[in-house]
């Protein structure tokens, strides 16, 4: 259970009503969280009840399309016991009262499930106490109905709106001792609940960072070196200043941190289009630094060379893998590869900043505003207390906006110009200045015994380093499936130095590792002549919890029974092994545990004689614990994540040449389109475990499930992505 030191403050809100602020500090709930550490979790919530009974709940986290702006207020409203129709939601700014204002890692549900309910329950208890005092009855004789306190014995009732002012003076109860609702009596949690912002979205009202408008605002573009971290030597910036609409053009000397302000040339104009047009006239000489070996072809050649030797370091060793292979009835080897990826948020990176009278005001579509504020403070030499960051709706996160490079650029340019400035990147800027999902190479060897059971597995993982250390999101842990379930296992790693910066993309690590491992396991199942579902259940063995070894990412462990449950569910729902499919059509299975969620997926795909792929259908089965908080959004997130995986597998992969990303737009990096998009059927298996998040874990199985379906359809094994670069025609 969670143990926290709790601070809850109540006060009168401006204009009357109850203002409820809770600060919850303490160690992360190790039982539910993947990342635990001293003081890793600090949570806060905010409730306002107007005399009219209108309840305003502040949503503290960035909304990137994951639905957290609905989910957190639903938790509070449930325990507060109000009608959802009476709730208004306000988006918080970056504010020290609201720690944990980040959208990442599918963490909002596990981190907030109990604390946000406690905030609501505390408010309810205070409202009951206020009513009991007014009636002169014991509080325990009172109850609540949505929006009011009732005294059943006398039939009296008072609305929350009428009680709010008195409730604000009531001592705050001990959060840890608050009774929480029995889930059977939930009225809001568990109800399919529509996103309250949709009416504004469908009428085109300004909500996103790129829509921000400030009086007197100018527009900026910023040209950086396409070799990441290249230094500016000289430019013709003086010639730019006379171009139509241009108000300022200047060189910027940045630092060495690829996540901070970099060298470049800023062009500021009366309109964004004029700024960007003027930029076409820029002539810049860059010092690109050493780009030796910084190309996709070179990476592949280096990986193949490294694979011939021993891994540079070991990740995990169990048993004696050589002895395991010697005992095996079948041994196969295969090399897998996945490419670099860009996040391609549809809203290009942008930020609006205004520096005046020593204060910096920022409007940013960011997933992670707090480090952005710190970065601006450190780079510009402004105290953080003089920086205000407004969080706008975000046109797609996917992990890209955990970094705040666009924020520090806008702030720097605005400070130089002395006017409000909106910086907007082009699509090409966005694709060429990302924190890429690192490519990876896996050199596998696997052995199955005469009974068709996996007994030995090795992986030489060739990944990337930056400045001598493993690149961000380019690592693999010692619990990578099927570790802990195989007697003889050997994972090792070697690294290739990389100039381009890397970072988390939706389901980081898992989105690549899942493809490689789940495809190779399917390959082993077929080698053994086994059905992939039975092969998987054999690996998992009996239902049990496998604890995590100590380490930086120690989590709650891996429960084989939960994974078995979703595999069996998806097999049942998809008609696995029971559906007679036409020639050229096949079903593939994959399963993956990430971000505390257990997901198994089946893809049915058809490949025609020309090699064209049609994804016919996707079935998703997930286990995210005891409660689906908003079933409507849960289905959307699972569908979207699975389709994100399908689209990534089909059409996305970046090419590196001379240290630069070759692609720049959606003509060569192909997100999923309507005509490619299959139906996605989603099923959840409700279990007794604490609820966990859903932004990411449905993604990883989709890619290997599609690859395995293509094998089932064609007999061609997919060992490299994207599929658009593979020849699947009958004559290939």
């Amino acid at each position: 259970m969670l143990r926290r030191r709790n601070f809850l403050k109540a006060s009168l809100a401006a204009g009357g009503g109850l203002l409820l602020t809770a600060t919850l500090r303490g160690p992360a709930g190790a039982a539910t969280l993947g990342t635990a550490g001293p003081d890793a979790v600090a949570l806060n919530a905010y409730v306002r009840i107007a005399p009219s009974g209108q309840v305003t709940i502040t949503a503290k986290n960035p909304e990137i399309g994951q639905g957290v702006k609905m989910m957190l207020p639903m938790l509070i409203a449930e325990e507060l016991d109000v009608a959802w129709a009476d709730v208004q939601i306000e988006q918080a700014d970056l504010d020290a009262r609201y720690p944990g204002q980040v959208a990442g890692g599918s963490t909002a549900t596990p981190l907030n499930w109990l604390p946000m309910r406690q905030v609501g329950a505390a408010g309810r208890q205070m409202l009951i106490a206020a009513a009991a005092a007014q009636w002169g009855v014991p509080a325990h004789d009172c109850a609540t109905e949505p929006g009011k306190v009732v005294h059943p014995a006398s039939g009296r009732s008072l609305t929350y709106g009428a009680l709010a002012s008195q409730a604000a003076a009531i001592p705050v109860p001990d959060l840890a001792k608050l009774p929480l609702k029995d889930p059977k009596s939930f009225r809001i949690i568990g109800q399919p609940t529509r996103n309250i912002d949709v009416p504004r979205i469908v009428t085109g009202q300004p909500m996103f960072g790129i829509d921000v408008s400030v009086p007197g605002m100018l527009y900026a573009v910023f040209q950086k070196c396409d070799v990441h971290g290249g230094k500016l030597v000289s430019s013709n910036v003086a010639a730019i200043r006379g171009l139509p609409g241009v108000r300022a053009a200047f060189e910027v000397k940045g630092g060495a941190d690829l996540r901070g302000l970099l060298d470049g040339v800023a062009v500021v104009a009366d309109s964004w289009w004029e700024a960007n047009r003027a930029r076409q006239q820029l002539d810049i000489i860059w010092d690109e630094g050493d780009i030796t070996g910084q190309s996709s072809e070179s990476f592949a050649a280096t990986a193949a060379r490294l694979a011939k030797g021993k891994p540079e370091s070991s990740i995990r060793r169990d048993g004696d893998v050589a002895a395991g292979f010697a005992k095996a009835a079948h041994v196969i080897e295969a090399a897998y590869h996945y490419p670099f990826l860009s996040h391609i948020n549809l809203e290009p990176q942008n930020c609006t900043a205004h520096y005046a009278d020593g204060r910096m005001e920022i409007w940013a579509p960011t997933q992670n505003p707090a480090p952005g504020s710190k970065l601006v403070a450190a780079t510009l030499g402004i105290p953080e207390s003089a920086i205000k960051v407004h969080m706008t709706r975000v046109g797609g996160g996917f992990g890209r906006r955990l970094s705040n490079d666009y924020m520090v650029e806008a702030a720097w340019i605005a400070k130089v110009v002395g006017a409000p400035v909106k910086l907007v990147w082009t699509r090409e800027d966005d694709m060429r200045h990302d924190f890429y999902r690192p490519a990876g190479y896996h050199f596998f060897k696997g052995g199955v015994d005469a009974n068709g059971r996996l007994i030995a597995l090795s992986d030489h993982f060739v990944t990337f380093s930056q400045d001598g250390a493993i690149a961000a999101s380019a690592d693999m842990g010692p619990t990578e499936f099927p570790a802990r379930m195989i007697d003889h296992l050997d994972y090792g790693v070697s690294m290739i130095p990389l100039r381009a910066p890397t970072g988390p993309l939706r389901a980081p690590r898992s989105n690549g590792l899942g493809f490689a491992f789940q495809s190779f396991l399917d390959e082993l199942a077929h080698t053994a002549g086994r059905d992939p579902v039975q092969f998987a259940l054999d690996i998992l063995g009996p239902p049990r919890l496998l604890p995590d070894p100590p380490g930086p990412r120690v989590g709650p462990g891996f429960h084989t029974g939960r994974m078995r449950g979703v595999i069996e569910l998806v097999a049942e729902k998809s008609g696995w092994g029971k559906t007679k499919l036409p020639k050229g059509t096949g079903m593939g299975l994959a399963y993956y545990f990430s971000h505390l969620g257990y997901f198994a997926e089946v893809v049915q795909a058809t490949v025609d004689a020309e090699g064209a792929i049609v994804v016919d259908k996707v079935w998703v089965a997930g286990d995210i614990g005891s409660q689906i908080i908003n079933p409507l959004n849960a289905e959307h997130q699972a569908q979207g994540a699975a389709l994100d995986g399908i689209g990534t597998a089909l059409g996305q992969g970046l090419h590196v040449r001379d240290g630069k990303i070759v692609q720049g737009n959606f003509d060569t990096v192909l997100p999923l389109r309507m005509r490619q998009s299959p139906p996605v059927e989603v099923h959840f298996r409700v279990t007794e475990f604490p609820p966990t998040g859903l932004g990411e874990p449905a993604l990883p199985p989709a890619l290997p499930a599609l690859a395995n379906a293509i094998f089932a359809a064609t007999g061609k094994r997919i060992r490299s992505l994207p599929l658009k670069d593979q020849d699947l025609s009958a004559t290939a």
Partner: protein, 154 residues
């Protein structure tokens, strides 16, 4: 240079270079921010508006080429019955996730339903495949177009 264009039923005067794409006139000069910038290359459809009822990519439409054509944006699409049905269906089916592409999706869907009141899946694929949704809300976009078609029949 001065241009007068008809936007959402109103004549609007702007003083811009003739090459300025309609997208940036709408967003930065006329403060109609519902039309979105996504790629600047007619690849994503986020900037879709109607020109005389036809869906076009505003990022590739110079202001000088607009002439007397009627421009309709997301801010006014609800003034047509079909646009109303599409918006109502989008709300009912809770289509958006991040929401950034949805203005363009709605403009394309409204144009489709205006010409094809009962579209098949094939019609939907043809009309909607120029509009990217990075959140991949396609299953609900498809369902909402069919729902809007139903609303148009009743």
């Amino acid at each position: 240079m001065q241009y007068v264009i008809e936007v959402n039923g109103t004549a609007r005067r702007v003083d811009v270079d003739g090459e300025t794409p309609l997208l940036w006139v709408l967003r930065d000069k006329l403060d109609l921010k519902g039309t979105k910038f996504g790629c600047g290359a007619a690849q994503c459809g986020a900037c879709t508006v109607h020109m005389d009822g036809q869906p076009i990519r505003a990022c590739q439409t110079p202001i000088a080429s607009v002439g007397t054509a009627r421009i309709t944006t997301i801010e006014a699409i609800g003034q047509t019955p079909v646009g109303q049905h599409v918006q109502a269906a989008w709300i009912e089916l809770d289509v958006p996730q991040c929401g950034y592409c949805q203005a363009g999706q709605i403009m394309s869907a409204t144009a489709l339903l205006t010409h094809t009141p009962a579209p098949t899946d094939h019609d939907i694929n043809d009309a909607m495949s120029g509009n990217l949704c990075r959140c991949a809300t396609y299953t609900r976009i498809r369902a909402a177009i069919k729902r809007a078609a139903d609303l148009g029949r009743t």
